[in-house]
Amino acid sequence: MSSHPHLHDSDLVPYKVIPREDTGLYNAKFGIWLFLASEIMLFGSLFSAYILLRVGSFSWPVQSEFLNVPIGAINSVILLSSSIFFIRAWVALKADDIVKYKKFMWLVISFAILFLCFKSVEYYQHFSHHEYPKSSVFLALYFLLTGLHALHIIGGIAVNIYYAGPGMYLRKENKQWFINRVEVAGLYWHFVDLVWIFLFTTLYLL
């Protein structure tokens, strides 16, 4: 029998809900921040490659002539809106308002899909003008950075669909644990939004 006042025999992993005394965080939150740190290194290395290639080149195209700035700006608004919907979903979940939680989560998912639709339109415009990654260094970087970001969006959509749909059964097992899981998914989602802010600025505006 567990001697810890908050642990049950079935809890083999402690600190899923209550925070650790030394870090002040529960496991998943600490884990997601470590993961986000690795993501910062991933995108950071690609951004630094972009900076070094641009600084080291003899000539560089006027990026805004290649890229659709209005669509990029619309995508920024879409992703930011999905971030705020996620926050509302988490607040609703904490308040036990499951209807509102599901409504906002599906808004997050819908806006993310809308982002990908606009991104697909942009890619189609490039391909129809025979602008491919192999066409130039700039386009190679553009497709690499935005493609990797789009993959992160797709992964986030999959997680959000799970927590808005079939994953809801986890709430019946342990309510606070489920709230923590959604919070952690939200941190990832805000990070994806944050990366887009830098992508939009670097690729579309500079």
């Binding site: 630094s48 080291g56 080149s57 003899f58 700035v69 930011l80 926050i87 260094v137 505006l205």
Partner: protein, 102 residues
Amino acid sequence: MEHDPQKDEFKRDLLIYFSIIALTGLIVTLSHLHKVWGMFLIVPIACTEAGILAFFFMHLMTKKKTIHLVLLLTLIVFLTLLFWPAWDVAYSPRTPSEFTHF
């Protein structure tokens, strides 16, 4: 009159949302102006947007030192990786290369 903390939080989130949208509009406008001074403002404004999002939406204004330490270490490593090769590129002789031509 009782304060509803949830409503206060919602108002704060909306304020942050519209602030970031406004800053996005500002950097798009600065980009369209094609002024040199505008270009130097775009990156700091974008960093401000990211900072606002990180502080409020990602709860970086928390007092949890663990998170700050993890991010500080990441930042130090990232800046080292960024500026070490940049220093090398800046002080190395440049040779024409198909990889550096647009």
